[in-house]
């Protein structure tokens, strides 16, 4: 954070994105309750970032989605279990009908428990869920853009717990070695994972220094400060083309927006019951039309 001079972000932009993020949070709770399964914690924590990414930061065209994504930015979700937030922003951005969010995790749905390409859901370019694989794919997609002389960017979101998978560190080394500098990777650092607080399960610190030592530009941001998300990612864009990949450590609160879910690892992968559902929705009034 100290490296970046805050750029002015208009209050209208912030308000517009916050309104979307609020509805995305409501979508997440309704989807997970409806399916009685899914991962609300990390999804809620990434709602602000995902709204900013899909509605402000990325250059994308939902009406003409192609697997190849040539001439537009490409997004890879590595921590596939936060599919609720991914599906919500995709639907809200127009990739597929909002009503389809009702089918999340149900039989015959395109909205699989973890994102998949097999059912042809627009917006999804790789299956993820088994952790630690998305970054490698994003690096490949970025190399692909370079070979295609396509100056658009590849964005990737990773969870912090999945950084325990060694493949990520292979990918960090590869990306730096090959100067993959059209890639912006955000790490959701909520410090919670299924078995408990991340520092107890497997310490990740000093993360900033580790990534830096691997040869990456490293930025940090508060994942719940919309203006900061925007200007940090805009700053990250300015760092592309400089020979090094870019990582953004995003500090978030698991379960953000629902008081009894906040900062509690037990909400990593559990659905609310009826009473909890109602309490959650009281805190998340609809800002757009519900699905």
């Amino acid at each position: 954070m100290k490296e970046i001079t805050p750029l002015p972000v208009s209050t209208e932009t912030v308000a517009r994105l916050q309104k979307i993020a609020a509805q995305v949070r409501r979508d997440i709770i309704r989807m997970v309750f409806n399916a009685q399964s899914g991962h609300p914690g990390g999804s809620l924590g990434c709602a602000d970032f995902m709204a900013a990414l899909f509605f402000e930061v990325m250059d994308i065209d939902p009406d003409r989605f192609t697997m190849d994504g040539i001439g537009e930015d490409v997004f890879i979700l590595s921590n596939g279990h936060i599919s609720p937030v991914f599906y919500s922003v995709l639907a809200r951005r127009g990739y597929f009908p909002i009503s389809e969010l009702r089918t999340f995790r149900k039989i015959d749905s395109r909205l699989q428990g973890h994102p998949a390409t097999a059912e042809g859901l627009p917006g999804v370019r790789i299956a993820t869920g088994s952790l630690g694989q998305g970054l490698s794919v994003a690096v490949g997609a970025a190399l692909s853009k370079r070979l295609n002389r396509d100056d658009h960017l590849v964005y990737c979101l990773q969870g912090d717990g999945e950084l325990e998978e060694g493949q990520n560190w292979e990918a960090y080394a590869f990306a730096a070695h090959h100067g993959v500098d059209n890639l912006i990777v955000t790490i959701d650092y909520n410090r919670k994972q299924i078995d408990g607080p991340l520092p107890e399960v497997m310490n990740l610190e000093p993360l900033h220094q580790k990534l830096k030592a691997f040869g990456w530009h490293v930025l940090e941001m508060d994942g719940h400060n919309m203006a900061q998300i925007i200007y940090t990612l805009e700053h990250a864009k300015k760092l592309t083309g400089s020979g090094r990949p870019i990582a953004v450590i995003m500090h978030t609160i698991m379960g953000k927006g629902v008081d009894f879910m906040e900062d509690d690892h037990r909400w990593h992968g559990s659905p609310p019951n009826q009473e909890q559902f109602e309490r959650a929705l009281q805190q998340l009034p609809a800002t757009l039309k519900d699905f």
Partner: protein
């Protein structure tokens, strides 16, 4: 020397891969290659030299290499990710399963130094389970060509095929006997010699041994049919059934565990469609060891004589 298919050269099947990869790269500028520190061992040398901008060194990090290959398909590239069989299959099974097969990406996985004939490096490197691992994955095509010429053809076919492909080939010099003009088609088995008494179905290096076995059987008055099953998946079920309906007995031969590979695939077809006496020549549920390729093939029962013995056994079980 087989009288049916005289060997016109001796060279490793991996050289056929190297030639095929180069030709694929020349034919299609979208073909790219990745290696995990074994690019010369697996004969990517010429591709690397001719198309340096399309070659990526991944270091000794196969999991990431498979993911990067999957990512390269997003944007229309056709990546060949190669290493030794052990490191490009078993070591990275879940990366292949999720990022390649389930995601149905146009990635070509190239496994060199297959089976026991890898030789002196021993069991750590002698993966004998790759066919089983790869053929049970939905969307995956599995190629197992028999000589350098066919490996070149199969590599080109893999590049032209749309979808995930696994292709395996070997390290030692091996007879080259497939005529240049013999067409290669994925999923279409080749009847190399027709016969009426027993069907020998072989893959990879073992096709040569099956041809030699057929000659040895002929001296005993047994007329064997020899099928080169260069595609393990999709298996050419019709070729198997057509042959055993004529011969009434089958022997499979592969440089792989008896379980789950070619023998397993053929047994599935015969069990469901046309039960006939059958035997599998392969490694019998154990790991390999260090040694010279021929010593290993002898010790582990992969010689032409082993195919002959298996054929004689199934013939005694054949209904008169």
């Amino acid at each position: 020397m087989s009288k049916y298919y005289p060997a016109y050269d001796h060279k490793p099947t991996r050289e056929g891969f190297g030639e095929g990869l180069y030709l694929a790269g020349k034919e299609n500028p979208r073909v790219v290659a990745l290696a995990a520190d074994l690019s010369d061992s697996i004969k990517m040398t010429r591709f690397k030299r001719e198309f340096p901008e399309r070659f990526f060194q991944a270091g000794v990090a196969e999991a990431n290499m498979v993911g990067v290959a999957a990512g390269l398909t997003i944007g229309g590239w056709i990546p060949f990710a190669g290493s030794f069989v052990n490191f490009i299959t078993g070591r990275v099974y879940d990366q292949i399963r999720q990022s390649v097969a389930y995601s149905n990406k146009n990635v070509k996985l190239a496994g060199s130094h297959m089976g026991l004939t890898l030789g002196e490096d021993g069991a750590t490197h002698q993966n004998l389970e790759d066919l089983a691992l790869m053929r049970t994955l939905p969307n995956m095509t599995v190629l197992s060509p028999c000589d350098a010429t066919q490996t070149r053809q199969a590599t080109l076919a893999a590049a032209r095929h749309s979808g995930p492909v696994y292709i395996r080939f070997g390290r030692p010099k091996w007879p080259v006997f497939i005529p240049e003009e013999m067409p290669f088609e994925i999923g279409k088995a080749q009847v190399l010699k027709s016969g009426n008494d027993v069907t020998l179905i072989a893959t990879g290096h073992m096709v040569w041994h099956a041809l030699l076995a057929a000659e040895m059987l002929e001296k005993r008055g047994i007329d064997a049919e020899v099928i080169n099953m260069h595609t393990i998946k999709p298996l050419d079920r019709e070729a198997v059934l057509q042959s055993v309906r004529k011969t009434g007995a089958a022997v499979t031969a592969e440089e792989h565990q008896k379980a789950g590979g070619l023998g397993g695939a053929v047994a599935e077809v015969l069990g469901e469609e046309q039960p006939v006496p059958m035997a599998r020549v392969g490694v019998n549920d154990r790991f390999g060891e260090s040694g010279k390729p021929e010593e290993l093939m002898r010790k582990y029962g992969l010689m032409p004589e082993d195919i002959v013995q298996a054929a004689l056994r199934v013939l005694t079980r054949k209904k008169p």
